[in-house]
């Protein structure tokens, strides 16, 4: 007996020693080396606390955006104007629910549970993309959301496929495969309306007018004003800056608007031969921060809707747990 205990004790001491030596220098170094060499960081790997926290915040924010985004689109599912459009929109929303699911699972690998993340959403400690705090007022908004919001999300998510955290990167690869269909369905809706009756055309232009600026705000503040960007770039959580991604989105979207004869609501928009990019007007950052702080048209409604569904479903979840416990 005694021998065994001594043996175990030695082992524990050895372990602790190992951890200590690693902690002294090489854990952080090893981590940075992996980042440098583009080797993915995996859940069991050592990572700096700030890296973990940054990812917890970003990934849960991403998951919440997928889930809250179901509301403004769900707003038109029952009123879709054709069976085909209804089925496509519903399938798209279902994809978003699936994205939320992958992202919550990926975020759980960082040592926080989905229910904790959801609680942070409902108590407004966690954010989601501000774009979903704008209302969807007409059917053309289903076009604008798919075309612009999913369009902007794709630019961001394609870039995030290369992110340094393994589970996040893999979730993005899976999600990106589905996203291009989302953008196509939106673009199809808005182009059909843009070439439709005068009323339809007017709705299409109005949707673009309302969603354009909030869409380009989706990339976040200018690099110079983005406090968290620096770490995110250093750790290769992000590989392109907010402004670079925004520019990519603008460059590819302008042509798409021209093709269907809609006007982007920015009088300063023009091609710049020197930069090979479009110049665009000043973003209203007061509006952006206002919505981030909770004062967008739908912030309260979105969270209340989420809480209501969650509370209404509490007895169902409890029953499922009770049943599983009883029946092994």
């Amino acid at each position: 007996m005694t021998l065994v205990i001594v043996f175990y004790d030695l082992k524990i001491v050895n372990c602790e020693l190992n951890i200590k030596t690693n902690n002294n220098m090489s854990d952080l170094e090893k981590f940075l080396e992996k980042i440098e060499e583009n080797i993915k960081i995996e859940p069991k790997d050592w990572m700096p606390d700030d890296y973990r926290k940054h990812l917890q915040r970003q990934m849960s924010q991403h998951a919440h955006s997928e889930v809250i985004g179901m509301q403004p689109e769900g707003n038109w599912v029952l009123r879709a104007p054709s069976l085909r459009a209804k089925v496509i929109l519903l399938a798209k929303i279902q994809d978003e629910a699936g994205h939320g699911q992958y992202l919550y699972s990926a975020a759980e690998t960082l040592g926080k549970s989905r229910s904790t993340y959801i609680n942070e959403l409902q108590t407004r400690k966690a954010k989601y993309s501000s774009i979903f705090n704008y209302p969807t007022l007409t059917w053309a908004d289903m076009g604008a959301v798919g075309w612009l919001v999913d369009g902007a999300a794709i630019v961001n998510q394609v870039s995030l496929q290369k992110t340094s955290y393994g589970p996040y990167s893999r979730a993005m690869v899976k999600i990106c495969k589905e996203e291009s269909f989302h953008q196509r369905q939106g673009y199809e809706i808005i182009s059909n309306m843009a070439k439709g009756t005068p009323e339809q055309k007017q709705m299409a232009q109005d949707a673009l007018d309302r969603f354009w600026w909030p869409s380009i705000m989706m990339f976040g503040p200018h690099d110079a004003d983005s406090s968290r960007s620096e770490n995110a770039m250093k750790w290769k959580i992000k590989n392109e800056t907010n402004d670079q991604l925004r520019q990519k989105f603008i460059d590819k979207t302008i042509q798409q608007a021209e093709i269907i004869g809609l006007t982007i609501p920015d009088k300063d928009l023009r091609w710049n031969d020197e930069t090979n990019h479009y110049d665009f007007g000043e973003i209203d950052w007061d509006e952006f921060w206002n919505v981030v702080k909770g004062n967008g048209p739908c912030n309260d409604d979105r969270i209340e809707h989420h809480i209501k569904a969650h509370e209404d479903g509490a007895w169902v979840r409890e029953a499922a747990i009770a049943y599983a416990e009883k029946n092994g």
């Binding site: 889930v67 179901m70 509301q71 769900g74 599912v77 029952l78 009123r79 879709a80 104007p81 054709s82 069976l83 085909r84 459009a85 209804k86 089925v87 519903l90 399938a91 929303i93 279902q94 629910a97 699936g98 939320g100 699911q101 919550y104 059917w139 809706i189 059909n192 309306m193 439709g196 009756t197 009323e199 339809q200 809707h305 569904a309 969650h310 209404d312 479903g313 509490a314 007895w315 169902v316 979840r317 409890e318 029953a319 499922a320 009770a322 049943y323 009883k326 029946n327």
Partner: protein, 251 residues
Amino acid sequence: MENKEALINYCLRLGDSSLILGQRMAEWCSNGPILEEDIAMTNISLDLFGQSRMLYSYIAELEGGTNEDEIAFRRNEREFFNTLISERPNGHFGDTIARNFLIDAFSFHYYKQLVKSNNEVISAFAEKSLKEVTYHLRHSSEWMIRLGDGTEESKIKIQNALNKVWKYSDDMFDVNDGDKSLIESGIAVNPEEIKEAWNETITSVLKRAKLTRPEDGYFHKGSRNGVHSEYLGHLLTEMQYLQRAYPDAKW
């Protein structure tokens, strides 16, 4: 009734029931008790819309000069032939599950027989739908069992939900004169033929769920002749809004 007219009316019965229940299930979008259920209920909704589209396209072919959207969005309350039970409001999750369970068990056994229809389109429809409703029935049965054998609260809720919706179940078995001629010619299935199998499924799931089968009392009927509850009009108002408000528009 002419044979073609009867056939169209029969397809409307099946197609409308799928469409209306599909619309009800779509109402759950972003309202489910957990994300996984949002996904499951959307799946069911998508299957049901697919089923109705298949039959509406067939009707359009038979009638000529119309299409699936005209059929779905330009008919009035009295021109719909969906079952009464399919238009019942969702209520809470247990109300939806109890309603769907009775419908799914019916569709499962009905399509199983309908596969043998001598009308190729209907037989193909039944074959495709049977695969889907097999999954739907599993989904609703599993929830009946979980809720029935879950907590005190869930047991009461699901039992009450079942008791409330029971009186709409017999309407699924109703036939009109057109149906009778189609049954004779081997195109349609007589719902009476599957009643026993339906009853067995209901009884065995309720037993596992530790729930009581409601007493057979008064049953509401009328949908086979296009007479509905007040709920249908509201559902259609919402669903048909754009097609009605912009009759010249293409989407």
